[in-house]
Amino acid sequence: MKTYVLRRALGLLPVLLAAVVLTFVANQFVPGDPITTLLSDRSGDAALEARLRAEYGLDRPLWRQFGTYVTGILRGDFGLSFRFASTPVIEVIAPGLLVSPLLAGGALLIAVPLGVALGTFVALRRNSLADTLVVLGLVAGTSVPNFALAAFLVYVLSIRLGWLPVAGWGTLSQAVLPVLLLAIPPIAYVARLSRTYMLEVLQQDYIRTARAKGLSRRLVVYRHALRNTLVPLLTTIGIILGGLLSGTFVIETLFNIPGLGRLAIQSIFARDYPVTMAIVLLFTFFYAGINLVVDLLYGVIDPRIRLGAGRAGGA
């Protein structure tokens, strides 16, 4: 088990390095010269320009800049912001640091139980009208982007009925719509999967045996079948969190929530690439970490995984 953990953790290194390289390269793509932009009306001030260039490290060769970038990240230092002169990126990011995880975590907490319940419900009513309709709804839920769903929900719930605020952040009622909208794709995704798994499990011999020895249908479903659908669901937590992280970019922009997602998009338009790329790095590291934990948990639950020869590629 120890070697398995070590191997999986080491397997992350090239991926993390790739993320660091990509964001460094992306930072070089800023249209125009960031120092010129910073100087704006004081563009004649050569002394100030030289000082800023030195402060931002832009007077050094590219490979030195990359070295500073990498060692900085290891210390939790993402460099300086281009929009707010001489301000460390980390200070720009700090106020929103907890908002996005709060949104994503809330959505995840709703999504998994609701999705499992919904999927189990329709699996037990296979090929009924309810099944067809719910499956149609689940296809829509997993694939239609949440800003399109948002238009309808905000219109009906906030504008027509006046139940919830249209946008903003700070009160519980302001969090309801964003969390709900973030949760819809994972609810639908989990429900689709648990429906499929449940249909598969219900065909297993041990289910027939349990029924044959006289256990009630309810007991068989909840005691025997449901448990076995939960294991494969665990692996999807990584995919779900990836979707939720991307989702925060859209939902925070849409509802004007001061989280990292909105800040990342705003910073693209403000040409403050260091901030955008720091957020991308944080999200990618977090995503990689979650996937590692999920893999390890899966190895704990199912010994076949950790004893097998690494990851069997593909579908």
Partner: protein, 295 residues
């Protein structure tokens, strides 16, 4: 990517099965029929947009600024007095153009890479699959956002960004299908009779990976349309004056209280299109997957 790929062992080519049989089965599936119908509808709108749209998508009319839906403007006007219906129809053209371009870039590359990796193994396999892993390391939309930020907004950027995000999925699927095919008797027979690897890949492997790739492509169009709309919604995708559903939803949300028609109609068009391609893909998968078919 969002869906675990359809694992389809040992499949025959499309030609081997009676075409009429497939058609009959396709028509029996309610959801596949619905999906197919929606896809035809959107495709016709996209192809015939210049003739179908009652107005030009750039034509502004001061009297139609935020106009209510009426006889002259069936879905009303937007902030610049442009006809919403015309922009919706042209938006289908933009969305599908992006989708077709991404497919045209990724299908050949992904298929070739996947077949080479699966067939030859060794360093070819390692190289291709490690580069795919790097793409998979990022949440897909976040990677697209980074690429879009680097290249600057625009239609070309969206196509490149989504192609980068999407090709590894195709490569991985093709690879796993090729791995399964390698153990088939007919591939062994071809090797033994001295057929060159390239010929084996083209003549014996390719026809067998195409059907599942078709399924993936159909679901993929749904994903690409969604991702394009998201980038455009965030303002880093397709730019004005070209109409995109994502951009129209963003503009419409600002005026949702007073003029809901723009956001709601663009959201509906986007939703219907994406659901259509997904239903069609699911329907195709059920047709081609023997496990479902023979049940």
């Amino acid at each position: 990517m969002t869906e675990p790929g359809p694992a389809i062992p040992a499949i025959g080519t499309l030609e081997e099965r009676a075409g009429t049989d497939i058609w009959r089965r396709f028509r029996r599936s309610r959801n596949a029929r619905l999906g197919g119908g929606l896809v035809v509808l959107v495709t016709v709108a996209a192809l015939a947009a210049p003739w179908l749209a009652p107005y030009g998508y750039e034509d502004t009319d001061l009297l139609a600024v935020w106009a209510e839906p009426s006889g002259a403007h069936l879905l009303g006007g937007d902030a610049l007095g442009r006809d919403v219906l015309s922009r919706l129809i042209t938006g289908a053209r933009v969305s599908l153009l992006v989708a077709v371009s991404v497919l045209a870039l990724t299908l050949p590359v992904g298929t070739l890479a996947g077949m080479a990796a699966g067939y030859f193994g060794g360093w070819v396999d390692s190289l291709l699959m490690r580069s795919a892993d790097i793409v998979f390391a990022f949440p897909e939309l976040i990677l697209a956002i980074v690429v879009a930020a680097m290249l600057g907004p625009g239609t070309g950027t969206v196509i490149v960004a989504l192609a980068i995000v999407w090709w590894p999925g195709i490569a991985r699927l093709t690879r796993s299908l090729t791995l399964a095919l390698r153990t088939e008797l007919f591939v062994d027979a071809a090797i033994v009779s001295g057929t060159r690897p390239l010929t084996i890949l083209v003549r014996h492997v390719l026809p067998n990976v195409v059907p599942p790739l078709l399924v993936r492509a159909s679901i993929g169009v749904g994903f690409i349309v969604m991702a394009e709309a998201t980038l455009s919604f965030l303002g880093i995708g397709v730019q004005e004056p070209l109409p995109t559903w994502g951009g129209m939803i963003r503009d419409g949300l600002v005026a949702l209280r007073t003029d809901p028609h723009l956001a709601l109609s663009a959201s509906a068009a986007l939703g219907v299109t994406i659901v259509g391609f997904n239903l069609l893909g699911d329907g195709l998968r059920d047709l081609l997957d023997p496990r479902v078919r023979d049940r």
